[in-house]
């Protein structure tokens, strides 16, 4: 159960360490629960009142010995739990911002999408977070509107993105290439549930190729069949959406848009879905989505969608 | 029953003579415990936001030590006069009690006038309104809340003076006076922290 990626199928050292603590605490807690359950079921079975039994049981005030036992044993158990907890709390709160070996990523939460900036590479992207295998990544987290929370369950715990503040979080990428889920975990408004992103983990070479592709400016000559779409895009969309990875834009950066697995974080990447999404974003993600209605003809939306589908890397 | 004979029958600490009176005094003390948290939260907010001045003026630019000093002196004195009122009550001297309460009310009004003048200056001359910055919001919330407490206290004590004039000092009215004086002292104690944390620390920077 729980396909894709989740906290109990950890990939990368951070999630593995956290999983270790989860298992340790779960073990101790199951032990406690079992002790209580055994005592409990024994008591409610053994000490039932028989019909007609009107005797008064012995009125026991208490027992210092027993009370000391169930004060001290929990203390010992908690101590066993607290030591690694505190140790890991400190060891996982390290800032690698100045470490040249570590990939730096600035992640910004927006209602309801994610923006990722690679400051060292001069790349902006949205919705797809691309990372190489076996790497440590230092995230700098913030938000442009309300509080969101940045969570890649398989790679490690979450951290809130607070407007006006910066949070630091480092995670280690898995050893194998693959696609992991990313989520917004803090309730952030109407379409909080749909604020997903993908973490695409690539091999070292693929990652380098991706970086190079991203850094290459977009091809300015487009094929004839999508020229009207390009024209419409320039008139209506360019003010917010960049198609080059070099600048952020108000809305999601669309470099490599057609390569993404999903539209708007959750819709399957089909022509129809692209068309439907740009025609009426509010239908999918509510009135708080900043992308305005464009009041175009249906065919014009189709044209823009056609054009967008050509935004591929390479 | 004449007033004097009535007073003779009044127990020595009339505010604690009946269960209702004791309940009222204790309940009010507990309420003050809650008020401590209320002001604590206001203080905490002020401390958290004191540096968020945006383009607005800072505490160093705004605050005047002399006005604060006068306000402090007035409020401290009024606290003393309200203690005298309670002592007069314990001596069953209604006339003195009313006089001291009157002085307390007048001093409270003086404090309010000074505060309103201060706020007016900030808004009119320094461009420091409630919505100027996070600092200004938290400043007005804290100091204004205290000012509202003073205003309420002035109204309350005035109303009680009228009641005493009408009903005399009884086991019903005495707890009210006692409780009002507790309230007044509490306001004074809060002010001690306001002038220290808001004004003096603001002046230090």
């Amino acid at each position: 159960m729980g396909q894709g990626s989740n906290p109990i199928d950890p990939k990368g050292s951070v999630a593995e360490e956290q999983y270790g603590l989860i298992l340790l605490s779960l073990g101790i807690m199951i032990l406690v629960t079992v002790v209580v359950f055994v005592l409990y079921f024994y008591a409610i079975v053994k000490y039932r009142r028989k019909p007609g039994d009107n005797t008064i049981p012995k009125q026991v005030e208490g027992s210092h010995k027993l009370e000391i036992i169930w004060t001290v044993i929990p203390m010992i158990l908690l101590f066993i739990l607290a030591v690694p907890s505190v140790a890991l709390t400190f060891s996982q709160d390290v800032d690698y911002s100045d470490d040249p070996e570590v990939i730096q990523v600035k992640a910004t939460g927006h209602q309801f999408w994610w923006e990722f900036e690679y400051p060292d590479l001069g790349i902006y992207t949205a919705q797809d977070l691309v990372l190489p295998v076996n790497q440590r990544v230092q995230f700098e987290l913030t938000s442009s509107d309300v509080i969101h929370s940045f969570w890649i369950p398989a790679m490690g715990g979450k951290m809130d993105t607070n407007p006006g503040m910066i949070n630091k979080l480092y995670l280690d990428t898995p050893a194998e290439p693959g696609v992991l889920k990313g989520k917004c975990a803090e309730f952030c408004g109407e379409s909080h549930a749909l604020m997903d992103f993908k973490v695409i983990v690539l091999s070292e070479e693929d990652y380098n190729a991706w970086v190079e592709d991203m850094q290459t400016p977009a091809n300015t000559t487009v094929s004839a069949d999508v020229q009207s779409g390009e024209e419409l895009f320039k008139q209506n969309c360019m003010s917010c959406h960049a198609i080059d990875a070099g600048s952020p834009g108000l809305g999601p950066n669309l470099k490599g848009f057609a390569d993404r697995e999903v539209v708007a974080g959750f819709l399957e990447m089909t022509d129809d879905n692209v068309y439907k999404w740009i025609r009426d974003p509010a239908y999918f993600k509510g009135d708080r989505v900043e992308m305005p209605g464009l009041f175009l003809e249906d065919e014009q939306y189709q044209d823009i969608a056609e054009y967008l589908k050509t935004l591929k890397l390479e | 029953m004449s007033q004097a004979a009535h007073l003779d029958k009044l127990p020595p600490e009339p505010e604690k003579a009946t269960l209702e009176g004791r309940n009222k005094v204790l309940g009010f003390w507990l309420f003050l415990g809650g008020e401590t948290v209320l002001f604590g939260t206001l203080f905490a907010t002020f401390i958290a936001l004191r540096n968020s001045v945006l383009d607005g003026p800072t505490g160093i630019e705004l605050f005047s030590l002399s006005i604060t000093a006068i306000a402090t002196f007035i409020l401290l004195t009024s606290s003393l006069t309200s203690v005298f009122a309670i002592q007069a009550m314990h001596h069953k001297n209604i006339k003195n009690m009313l006089t001291w309460l009157g002085v307390t009310v007048v001093l409270g009004l003086g404090f309010l006038v000074l505060e309103i003048y201060e706020f007016y200056e900030y808004v009119a001359h320094d461009g420091f309104g409630f919505t100027t910055s996070a600092f200004s919001s938290s400043f007005y919330a804290l100091v204004g809340f205290h000012g509202a407490h003073v205003a309420l206290g002035v109204l309350w004590i005035s109303l009680l003076m009228l009641q005493i004039k009408k009903k005399g000092l009884t086991t019903v009215t005495a707890p009210k006076i006692y409780v009002a004086s507790l309230y007044w002292h509490f306001i004074d104690v809060v002010w001690v922290f306001i002038f220290t944390i808001v004004y003096l620390m603001g002046k230090v920077g």
Binding site: I22, S25, Y47, T89 | -
Partner: protein, 623 residues
Amino acid sequence: MAHSVKKYRGLMDWITTVDHKKIGILYFAAGGLFFVIGGIEALLIRLQLMFPKGTFDILDGQTYNEVMTMHGTTMIFLAAMPLVFGLMNAVVPLQIGARDVAFPFLNSLGFWTFFFGGVLLNISWFTGTVPDIGWTAYAPLSGQEFSGTGSDYYAIGLQIAGIGTLVGGINFLVTIINMRAPGMSFMRMPLFTWTSFITSGIILFAFPALAVGLIYISFDRLFDANFFVTATGGNAILWEHIFWIFGHPEVYILVLPAFGAISEILPTFARKRLFGYSSMVFATALIGFLSFMVWAHHMFTVGMGDIANALFGVATMLIAIPTGIKVFNWLFTIWGGKIQFTTAMLYATSFIPTFVMGGVTGVMLAIPPADFQFHDSYFVVAHFHYVIVGGIVLSLLAAAYYWWPKMFGRMLNETLGKWSFWLFFIGFHLTFFIQHFLGLWGMPRRVFTYLPNQGWDTANFVSSIGAFFMAAGVIVILINAIISIKGPKAPADPWDGRTLEWSIASPSPEYNFKQLPLVRGLDAFWLEKMDGKKEMTPAEPLGPIHMPSPSILPFFMSLGLFIAGFGFMYRGYEFESAFMNNLFGYNIIAIFGLAITLVCMFLRSVYDDHGYHIEVEELQKEG
């Protein structure tokens, strides 16, 4: 001295009553009503989440968020709180052998402000602007820029309800400190009274923080202040701190009286005194104290840094120790007893393992690095429902079955009671146990839908089925309550009780005790019964009993606040008619409402309430 006093009948009697027993019933009725509303909201949530996105979407994102917000807010503030207060009103004065509470008038005021606050919140359903910000109302989502009038309903509704709670808390503190019967020392107080005492103390210190926070939200929204507005230098995290400084103690406000009720019911039906009474008292006080030092464990992922996280993590774990003491004391109370499984006892015993399951996940959540994974996932949802439903609701139901005869003078049907228990209990575990796993499989909370094929579909379906079982259980409880109106009359002491409330008639007369009882030890009534006596030894001769007069003022004071609330909420709203715009824009409605409240306060201060006396002859006539 006999003073003629107006006595009201019917509806007016309920609106003007200052009798703590009737106020207890009012709290029960209002809390029950809101509990049903919150329950319907819960069912809507589970219906929506029964299937993944695209299969059976009955709610859109906006509506779901409204339902989810109102479910949380209603259940915590408008259902659990008043039910706890209802029990405290019905039981505490009787348990300490008092004729009344310390402030009958304030008690009534507390109820009416709570009630009008709750009504105000729920009126939002009819104006179409429902709070949609989660019950925690995190800024800046709850600010002007990101949410509508619904957030004003939240801030002002809770503000008004909160005043009522604070007033109620002070009332119980003074009642317990000052009004105990002769011989009823603190260490002879029944545990329900003890927990009510500590809970009232926590209320006193927690609610002012919430009041300030809500004022800030209102100021930000209505008067353009900058407390939580990031763009103008405000700080969104500040709200989280203020909210949780209140919010964490709030959990203990609810759960401690639940512990208290369990500590009364187990000894009664096991016929054995509470094991380790003094350590139970000590543990209660310790939990109350610690509850103020752990709030930031709700904020581990906020980014406060390792020192704060470690500190609050360890402090949170410490709470497990006094809680553990309590659990084992309960176990050893029934150990060696003669357990009789009435409905109340079924609920009470089932509380122990259920609550332990909620408690251990609490310790797991206290580990900061692990919490990074758990936080805001369904694991948390499962945890706090185990604590709040499995801990608080189960014991409130136990308490309701236990004290129902004393409150209403009628017995509840035991067969229906057992049906309700099994439906509710099985439904509860079915709903929430599997949610632990949903959390571990990475499902975030507060999502209005989820995409298929993430491995969550079956678990969500099972969870929703459980919710229907719980609903069925609640329906049986309601039927049972309704038919109990015609049910068998309750004897004074139906359960062979141990504490003072069982020494007087059911329902108790308005003056509670004809003569104040002399208390000779813990479980005062049980001691007398063991000595072969049928009733308590009186501590005073029979005399006239002084009673407070009923008053309509609390009702109007709260009504004034209610009106003022609307005035403030809609002061910046653009109505279609100019008249309405003026009415609200110039704060006329707000001032009118506040004026009603102030005039009522003035009247209360100026006109002394002399009350009335019940004369000896009347007392003797009633037997």
